[in-house]
């Protein structure tokens, strides 16, 4: 099957990628655009490692055909960081321990970014509902929920003009306090 040139709009840039009709968006991003931050874990839509944003919504790129994505605005993990610092969600995943082996992290980060755009102050239950399409085998999700909560709060502070905390450790009491109050049950 001959390849077709497809124009992908990724992270504000335009990529011309030669793809076969059956190539997935995940494959086109990784092999065509060289954006290997998007991961393939199960290739069947279960693990969420391949999540990218399409028109702002989290989408499984392993179950999306590259040719279908022609007119869409796509965001990947590589497009999140600003000129000087990381996206608050990326920052929080690191500082809250939301990433261990890190393979699921790009997917979780993308899902979380989409959530926080919709809902700036999600509850822990709302966070869990939003990330329930992403699998993590390392963290038991607790620190991922911590991270999304923290990122939301940092982004709200930033919007309110306060100085968001910079890279580095957080105060012990703050995290412990949050963890104590975290009702993680169903």
């Amino acid at each position: 099957m001959p390849k077709t040139l497809v124009t992908l709009h990724v992270n504000g840039a335009t990529y011309e990628v030669a793809v076969k009709p059956q190539d997935t968006l995940a494959l086109a991003l990784r092999d065509g655009c060289g954006l290997t931050g998007t991961k393939i874990g199960c290739d069947m839509g279960t693990c969420g490692c391949c999540t990218v944003l399409v028109e702002g919504r989290p989408v499984l790129s392993c179950l999306t055909l590259a040719l279908e994505a022609e007119d869409w605005q796509i965001e990947t993990i590589e497009g999140l960081s600003g000129a000087e610092r990381l996206h608050p969600v990326q920052e929080a995943f690191a500082t809250c321990g939301g990433s261990q082996c890190g393979y699921c992290t790009p997917g979780f980060v993308m899902t979380s970014v989409a959530l926080l755009r919709d809902n700036a102050a999600p509850s822990r239950d709302e966070i869990k509902a939003a990330i329930a399409g992403n699998l993590c085998r390392c963290t038991g999700y607790a620190k991922i929920v911590d991270a999304v909560e923290k990122a939301g709060s940092d982004m709200r502070s930033a919007d309110a003009g306060a100085t968001p905390p910079t890279t580095g450790e957080k105060d012990d009491a703050g995290i412990q306090g949050r963890r104590q109050t975290a009702a993680a049950g169903r």
Binding site: T36, G41, L80, L86, E91, A94, C96, T105, G140, A142
Partner: protein, 775 residues
């Protein structure tokens, strides 16, 4: 509890997390070289068959198929353990399980490689299939491996007896026993195995692989490729989860190198999810029989443990697993008399190996369940009874494990108090329960797999004019934070912030030997090696400070990138001043630190297994809710106290413990590798169910610090041990909730439902008639 530490004990992000949150980390499948061919593997669809003929000619004729290798291309067998070198890069005479690799095809792209695989013709002669461990101890027509003794499929027999267990069984006031069976579970890491072999222009071979054990891969490659080790480089890519599932040298790693050598082009192979399940090395299925005589006042008199485990088709870590299913039974308790009989049986199924809590998890479930039976029979509180039996710190077990620091009492007490156990135990309504379990685990195996006198861990440090400290180690960072441990140890000793430290732990050409990420050895051994190396540098900088200030070198403290005289804080030399002086007429500062376990243990057969320079201890209390209409069991909250000696980074320790809870709960409640006539029938993440966020309980992590005398800054392991108490805490809580003892895992809703139906129809109905007052 930082006790004057500046870096140790702080909640720090993992040093490699910045790469991971930005997508910059390079995992197996992110390795890209020009001119790379894609590999696919032909795997056996038969469980046991002799290979009569392999015809690759049709495949070779396909345009774009560039090279094919089969068993004829590599005759040397390998395996992670020197005592069980039973694996082949590609099946040589016969296939031993559905998934065994028969041929490897390199082609221009994935599609062509698949076409090539499909075009290979293999003629097999079927052999009898052996799936059942029960038949594994007797002679069979065609043993899976020729070298098993007396014609059976039994690979390993362990028999140990300390004291007189039969006399203790006679003496016990109660002597509960249980027959437990366990289905296999898998690591289910998110990153598929993915490797790239690169034939270097100078004739060397480089393998990029997400492995936990670069050194063992290195050794196996040398053996299979018949190349000296120095002509091979193993590069550990970022590892997307291991949990023991990437701690073997694998046939596919050998196969891509064989292809790369044959065609002299880079070869990349990335598994699909199913192949991960076929490669397996997950927790052994098996049966564990336990009997524990206990005196009237609740003292454990003996343990009698019998385990038969299902190894699948190859050895992997299985000889060790056979020991671990029994010999870890004793801790954290004093067990005066002890007997263990263990058997590992080959079957025509995917090979089992090491998985988080290696070998100890299933037996621990059995023992802690039987202990609860004893407590119930004696009308004792299960926590108090356990407290009456624990090992003392700095003591010895009956099988001569050297116990050092031991925080088990604090673990049990904190779980008891924080869970409000006394008010809950015996007072929860039908359908709700609370249970306890304990565990202990090695902080690294004292006895290395290859018994040489080379240290188990070495770390090199290098500092040049930029002031940054480069640490070289082959300690495998797999997300558990071993790179961060190195950075913390170095930063602490040198009084630097974390950003000064850069850890290079991926390249066998530049890194000194380390045995890898298994047996929970990293923190203890690499941490100690890194600390030792940093102390050497510290001495060099102190001497430079002495030359600059005239103040004695041994009186300097290191803090905030400064060297401050302890006896006269007005004497301050900046780190860079000291460094510049130290570099003068000398060049880069280089230092080495290493760790080797002290000699220890008994002199009986098998005494080396399970020895560790330190042991972690832990306890867990869990609550369960049983849906009385459906039998579905959930865990709303769990407490887990873990004695990790000292938390070098509490954020990371919590993360390890939470991960252990996730995995332990999964095995207790829903994870299982299902087989249909030896074929895995759920090799994907929809039907192999790991917990999602909705199934995750409220987790109360309690860090206990016993400050081990030999651990780096007092630290011990925290990556595996915390899994052990989770399963029995759930099982005991379930019994407490509805009087149902789960003798097999996972706890299936249909079985719980059947129990509930029986109760519903009984005279007492849904009322608790057991464990009602707890004491």
């Amino acid at each position: 509890m930082t006790q004057g530490f500046k870096v140790v004990g702080r909640r720090l992000p993992l040093v490699d997390s910045w790469k991971k949150v930005t997508g910059a980390a390079v995992y197996g499948d992110d390795v890209r070289f020009p001119n790379t061919l894609i590999c696919r593997l032909l795997r056996s669809t038969l469980p046991h068959a002799r290979i009569l003929r392999i015809d690759t000619s049709a495949a070779e004729a396909i345009p774009g198929v560039r090279a094919i290798v089969t068993g004829a291309d590599a005759s040397a067998r390998f395996g992670v353990l020197p005592i069980s070198q039973d694996e082949e890069a590609l099946a040589i005479e016969k296939v031993r399980y559905v998934g065994d690799i028969v041929a490897a095809v390199a082609a221009d792209d994935e599609e062509t490689a698949r076409q090539g695989v499909a075009a290979i013709e293999v003629v097999y002669e079927r052999l009898p299939d052996y799936f059942d461990i029960d038949e594994g101890l007797d002679p069979v027509e065609e043993p899976i491996h020729a070298w098993t003794r007396d014609g059976s499929n039994c690979q390993k027999r362990v028999d140990q007896h300390f004291g007189d267990v039969d006399a203790a069984l006679d003496a016990g006031k109660v002597k509960p026993q249980g027959h437990f069976s366990f289905i296999g579970v898998g690591h289910a890491f998110t990153e598929p195995h993915s490797v790239t072999a690169v034939p270097e222009p100078d004739g060397r071979m480089t393998l990029y692989t997400p492995t936990q054990v670069p050194h063992y891969v290195h050794r196996a490659l040398a053996k299979v490729l018949e190349m000296p080790m120095h002509r091979i480089k193993v590069f550990r890519t970022a590892v997307g989860g291991g949990f023991g599932g990437k701690s073997d040298p694998f046939p596919h790693e050998m196969a891509v190198c064989l292809l790369a050598r044959k065609i002299q082009r880079p070869i990349r192979l990335t598994f699909d999810r199913e192949e991960i399940f076929l490669t397996n090395r997950g927790r052994h299925p098996g049966i564990v029989d336990v009997q524990i005589p206990v005196s009237e006042d609740g003292k454990i008199l003996a343990m009698d443990v019998n385990a038969v485990i299902d190894g699948g088709a190859f050895g992997s870590f299985g000889v060790v697993t056979t020991y671990y299913n029994g010999i870890f039974s004793q801790g954290p308790y004093k067990v005066p008399e002890f007997r263990y009989s263990g058997r590992r049986v080959y079957t025509n199924k995917a090979p089992c190996g090491a998985m988080r809590g290696h070998g100890a998890v299933n037996a621990r479930y059995a023992i802690e369940s039987v202990l609860d039976m004893a407590a119930e029979e004696l009308n004792l509180d299960p926590i108090e009874m356990r407290l009456d039996n624990v090992l003392e710190p700095y003591s010895k077990t009956t099988n001569e494990f050297r116990i050092t620091s031991n925080g088990i009492v604090e673990c049990l007490e904190r779980c008891r108090d924080e869970s409000e156990w006394p008010s809950k135990k015996g007072n929860l309504p039908f359908g709700k329960g609370i249970g306890v379990g304990c565990g202990f685990f090695i902080s690294g195996s004292a006895l290395p797999i290859h018994q040489t006198r080379t240290p188990q861990s070495t770390v090199h440090l290098q500092i040049d004019v930029d002031g940054g400290v480069t640490a070289h180690s082959m300690g495998a960072e797999i997300g558990q934070g071993s790179d961060t441990v190195i950075a913390i140890a170095v930063a602490e000793v040198l009084g630097l912030t974390m950003d000064f430290i850069r850890v290079r732990s991926d390249d066998s050409d530049t890194a000194p030997l380390d045995l890898g990420a298994y047996s929970s050895r990293g923190c203890f051994m690499i941490g100690n090696a890194a600390r030792e190396a940093a102390l050497v540098i510290r001495k060099k900088l102190s001497r430079a400070a002495e030359r600059l200030s005239g103040h004695p070198a041994d009186d300097f403290d290191f803090e905030d990138a400064k060297l401050i005289a302890l006896s006269d804080p007005s004497i301050v030399i900046s780190y860079f001043e000291a460094l510049t002086e130290a570099l003068a007429d000398n060049g880069a500062l280089i230092a080495k630190g290493w760790y080797q376990s002290p000699r220890m243990g008994g002199s009986f057969k098998g005494a080396g297994a399970g020895l560790a320079p330190a042991y972690s201890f832990n306890a867990s209390v869990a609550e369960v809710d049983v849906d009385l209409e459906t039998g579905l069991v959930t865990c709303p909250r769990i407490w887990l106290a873990h004695d990790c000696g000292r938390a070098l980074n509490p954020l990371a320790v919590e993360g390890q413990i939470e991960g252990c809870i996730h995995m332990g709960l999964g095995q207790a409640l829903m994870e299982e590798m299902r087989y249909s006539k030896g074929r895995i029938s759920n090799p994907h993440l929809l039907d192999y169910k790991i917990l999602g966020p909705f199934e995750t309980p409220e987790m109360h992590v309690l860090i206990v610090e016993s400050e081990d005398k030999e651990g780096p800054f007092g630290a011990k392991e925290s990556g595996e041990g915390p899994l052990l108490p989770v399963l029995p805490a759930i099982g005991n809580a379930l019994y407490n909730a509805i009087g149902y003892r789960a003798y097999d895992l996972p706890i299936r809703p249909e079985k719980v439902f059947a129990h509930l139906e029986k109760m519903r129809k009984s005279e007492t109905g849904f009322s608790k008639t057991w464990e009602t007052n707890g004491r």
